[in-house]
Symmetry: C2
Subunit: 95 residues, 2 copies
DNA sequence: TTTGACTTGTCAAATTATGTCAAATGTAAG
DNA sequence: CTTACATTTGACATAATTTGACAAGTCAAA
């Protein structure tokens, strides 16, 4: 399960909303929404923004989780190299 | 220019090797090798390993740079969200 | 059972990645 | 100026991945 998906499900259930309803708002199939919550598919940036709107969440919070998922995916199974790579990245970001 | 490409070029020039020679070792076109060094194309993991071998560099060093490039690419233009996302990622990696 | 919510597998279409080729550019020597 | 060679670039074909829909499946409550 993904950072973003987990949080979306949490928010959705707290408001007693159905997958179907969120999906309708994004104009996508319920199946896709299910996969997004379970981390089987990634949402597009625009979808995350729409979800935040619909679930009354902070857009930035969800986008951060969305980015974290993307990074996690990019790391793949190179977890041993990741710490050093992350440091390089952090240094590069400062510019 | 990419972290990896920059380092490869450095190593290659220090040994007075031609792009053509490195490319031949990887069995790819010289043009592709040029692009890799200039960060216009990403190398595959296997290619990085071969390059390290040929340039007598530490495989781990180059792979770390290669991963850093991948992560940088995943961040894209979400540099503002990256610091928080990185923290989440770091926390997740500990498990 | 039946119903409704959710999940899963599969497929075609769309998008993106990969590597080659040919042409362009740069550079040093004659 | 030419030639010779290294490197770079852009266009392209092909391959690989991603995307979302659809249909069929599971599961729980009534």
């Amino acid at each position: 399960m993904s950072n973003l998906g987990q949080r979306i499900r949490e928010l959705r259930e707290k408001q007693n909303l159905l997958l179907r309803q969120v999906a309708a708002h994004l104009e996508v199939d319920t199946a896709l929404m299910s996969k997004i919550e379970r981390g089987k598919r990634k949402a597009s940036k625009q979808q995350v923004i729409e979800i935040a709107k619909f679930l009354k969440a902070y857009e930035e919070e969800l986008l951060t989780l969305w980015l974290a998922d993307k990074l996690e995916n990019a790391v793949g199974n190179e977890k041993d190299l990741a710490p050093d790579a992350l440091n390089i990245l952090k240094k590069n970001l400062k510019k």
